[in-house]
C-alpha cells in the first residue's frame, strides 16, 4: 500500500514540475516581450522609421536598415526560391534511389546543421573576395540564399510527398508528360506547403546577423542601396550596433528596432501557419 502511495505522489509531483517548466518557458517569452515593449514602444514614431542612423541616440532612425532588409530579402527570394524549389522537385520526382541521391540527401541534412557564421565565412571567401563583390548587398543576399536553401528544399520535398499519388497517375493516364504533370498537377497541389516553407525560411533569414557581419554589412550606412554593389545595413545589424553602445538612449532605440523586427518575424510566422492550416485542410 505504501508503495502505491509513493508512486502516486511521484506521479503528481512530476505533473506539477512539467506544468511549472512549461509555464516558465511561456513566461520568459512574456517577460522578454513585455520588457522590450516597455522600453522601446514610446520611441517608435514616424521619425524613427524615416530617419537615418545617427551618433545622437535621440535622432537615430532605422530608415536605411529597413530598406536594406527589404532589398536584401527581395534579392534572397529571387536567388533562393527557384533553386530551392527546383532542387526539391528534382530530389522528389526525378532522382532515382542511388548512391548519388543518398549523397545529396546526407549533404543537405548536413548543410542544414552548419552554423550560420560558417556561411558568412563562405560568403566572405567566395562572393566578397573571389568574385570581388565586396561587402555589397549582392554578396549578402547570395550568402543568405545558400543559408536558407536547405530549408526550402526540405519543405518542397515534404509538400510534394504529401500530394496523393492518384492525382499524378490520373495526369499520366491522360497522356501528360512528366514536366506537364509536375507543373500542372503536382506544384499547384503542393503550393501551400511550399509557400509555408519559403515564408519560414525568410523569417529565419530576416533575423540573421552573424553571416552578414562576416560578409561586411555595415552598422552605419547613411544612404539607401541603389545598386547591387552598394554597401548595406539591415535591421538586426542596426540592433547589434546599438546594443554595443554604452549610452542608455541607444538601448531604447535598440528596443524600438527589436519591436519592429519581432513584429515582422511574428507576422511572417503567422502567415506561414495560416497557409499550412489551409493547405492541410485542402489535402484532406
Amino acid at each position: 500500500m505504501n508503495n502505491i502511495r509513493k508512486n502516486k505522489i511521484k506521479d503528481q509531483a512530476f505533473k506539477a514540475l512539467g506544468m511549472l517548466f512549461t509555464l516558465f518557458g511561456v513566461s520568459v517569452l512574456v517577460i522578454l516581450i513585455y520588457n522590450i515593449l516597455r522600453v522601446g514602444f514610446t520611441r517608435i514614431n514616424w521619425d524613427f522609421l524615416t530617419s537615418l542612423p545617427s551618433r545622437k541616440p535621440e535622432e537615430a532612425g532605422i530608415y536605411t536598415a529597413i530598406i536594406g532588409t527589404l532589398d536584401l530579402m527581395l534579392l534572397t527570394v529571387i536567388f533562393a526560391i527557384p533553386i530551392g524549389v527546383g532542387a526539391g522537385i528534382y530530389l522528389e520526382e526525378y532522382s532515382k534511389k542511388s548512391k548519388l541521391s543518398s549523397l545529396l540527401e546526407i549533404n543537405i541534412s548536413n548543410l542544414a546543421g552548419v552554423p550560420s557564421i560558417i556561411y558568412g565565412l563562405l560568403g566572405l571567401g567566395v562572393f566578397v573576395r573571389y568574385f570581388n563583390f565586396g561587402g555589397s548587398i549582392l554578396a549578402g543576399s547570395l550568402t543568405l540564399s545558400l543559408l536558407i536553401l536547405p530549408i526550402i528544399i526540405v519543405a518542397t520535398r515534404e509538400a510534394i510527398k504529401a500530394v496523393p499519388p492518384s492525382l499524378k497517375e490520373a495526369s499520366f493516364a491522360l497522356g501528360a508528360s512528366k514536366w506537364q504533370t509536375i507543373s500542372d498537377v503536382v506544384l499547384p497541389s503542393s503550393f501551400g506547403g511550399i509557400i509555408t516553407g519559403i515564408i519560414l525560411s525568410l523569417s529565419r533569414a530576416i533575423g540573421e546577423t552573424a553571416p552578414l557581419i562576416v560578409v561586411g554589412a555595415m552598422a552605419y550606412v547613411p544612404f539607401v542601396p541603389h545598386s547591387l554593389f552598394d554597401a548595406f545595413s539591415v535591421l538586426p545589424m542596426q540592433i547589434f550596433n546599438w546594443t554595443t553602445r554604452p549610452q542608455q538612449g541607444f538601448a531604447v532605440a535598440a528596443s524600438a528596432a527589436i519591436i519592429i523586427l519581432l513584429l515582422i518575424t511574428f507576422v511572417m510566422n503567422g502567415i506561414a501557419v495560416y497557409f499550412r492550416n489551409k493547405w492541410q485542410k485542402k489535402l484532406k
Binding site: 522578454l32 533553386i83 548536413n110 557564421i117 560558417i118 552573424a210 552598422a219
Partner: protein
C-alpha cells in the same frame, strides 16, 4: 517535346547540385585560408597553447582558449535546456490535455523563431542585471547569463523534437504499461523514454550543435576576452564571437588576423559536422526500426 523534358530535368538537376557545390565551397574556403594560416603558426601551438591573443602585440594562437569559452557557454545552455526541454516533452505527451498540448507546443516554438540578436540584448539588459542582484560579483559580460538565455532559446529544439519522438512510440506500448497498473510517471520513464531514446538523443545532439554554433547571444552578452577558464562569472570569448569581433573591425585580406577567423571557423565546422553526422546516422537507424 522530348528535348524540352530533358532540358528541364537537367536544369533541376543543376539546382540540386548547387547544394554539393555549397559544401565543397565551405570546405575549400576554410581549408585554403587555414593551410595558409598554419604556414605561420604551428598546429602544435594552435592545439596546445592556452592563450589566444592574435589582436595583441604579443601574439598567441591557442585555440583552447576559444574552445573552452565555446564549451562553457554551450554546457550551461544544455544544463538549462535538457532538463526543461525533456520534462516539458514528457509533460505535454503524457500529462497535458490534448487542447493544452496543441496550444502550448506552437507557443514554445516561438522561442526558437525569435532572432538571436534579440536574445543577446535580452541577456545583456535584463538577465545579467537580474543575476547580479543575486550574485553581485558577476561581471557585466559573463558566460552564465549568455548560456542561460541560449538554453532558453534551444528548449523548443529539445521539447518539440523529443515530443515528436514520444508521439511516434506505438500506442500499444503505452497502453500495455497502463494495463499493468503503472502510473504515468512509471510509464514515461520505464517505457516511453527508453522506446523513444534514439529520437531524444538526436534532439539533444542537435541542440548541442546549435549551442556551439550560436553567435549573437555570446557576442553581445559573454564578452570578448579569450580566457582558458571554466568560471561562468567572468567574460569569455567563443569561436563564433571571435569571428564576429575580427569581422566587425577591418582585418586586411591576407593578414594573419584575417586568416585566424578561417582557422577558428574550421575548428567550429569540424565540431558541428561530427555532431550532425552522428545524429544523422542515429536518425537513419531509428527510422528503419519503426517503418
Amino acid at each position: 517535346m522530348k528535348i524540352k523534358e530533358k532540358l528541364i530535368e537537367l536544369i533541376l538537376k543543376l539546382c540540386a547540385f548547387i547544394t554539393i557545390l555549397t559544401t565543397i565551397g565551405i570546405i575549400t574556403v576554410l581549408l585554403f585560408e587555414s593551410i595558409s594560416f598554419f604556414r605561420s603558426v604551428s598546429i602544435f601551438e594552435f592545439l596546445t597553447d592556452t592563450e589566444w591573443t592574435p589582436l595583441f602585440s604579443e601574439k598567441h594562437f591557442g585555440i583552447l582558449a576559444l574552445v573552452s569559452g565555446t564549451f562553457l557557454t554551450a554546457a550551461i545552455a544544455i544544463a538549462v535546456a535538457l532538463p526543461l526541454g525533456l520534462t516539458i516533452a514528457i509533460y505535454l505527451n503524457m500529462y497535458a490535455p490534448k487542447s493544452f498540448r496543441k496550444t502550448l507546443k506552437p507557443i514554445l516554438e516561438i522561442l526558437a523563431a525569435i532572432p538571436t540578436v534579440v536574445y543577446g540584448f535580452f541577456a545583456l539588459s535584463i538577465v545579467t542585471p537580474f543575476l547580479q542582484n543575486i550574485y553581485p560579483d558577476l561581471e557585466t559580460f559573463n558566460s552564465l547569463s549568455a548560456g542561460i538565455v541560449m538554453g532558453i532559446m534551444i528548449i523548443p529544439f529539445i521539447s518539440s523534437l523529443s515530443e515528436d519522438a514520444l508521439f511516434a512510440v506505438p500506442k500499444s506500448l503505452k497502453l500495455a504499461a497502463f494495463g499493468m497498473g503503472s502510473t504515468r510517471f512509471q510509464t514515461a520513464f520505464k517505457v516511453m523514454v527508453p522506446a523513444a531514446s534514439s529520437g531524444i538523443i538526436v534532439s539533444i545532439i542537435l541542440a548541442i550543435s546549435r549551442a556551439i554554433g550560436e553567435t549573437m547571444i555570446v557576442a553581445i552578452a559573454a564578452g570578448q576576452q579569450a580566457q582558458f577558464t571554466l568560471d561562468p562569472t567572468i567574460p569569455v570569448q567563443t569561436i563564433t564571437s571571435y569571428i564576429v569581433q575580427v569581422s566587425s573591425g577591418d582585418a586586411p585580406q591576407g593578414s594573419l588576423e584575417y586568416k585566424t577567423i578561417f582557422a577558428a571557423g574550421l575548428t567550429l565546422f569540424l565540431f558541428t559536422f561530427s555532431l550532425n553526422t552522428i545524429s544523422f546516422w542515429i536518425k537513419k537507424k531509428y527510422q528503419e526500426k519503426y517503418e
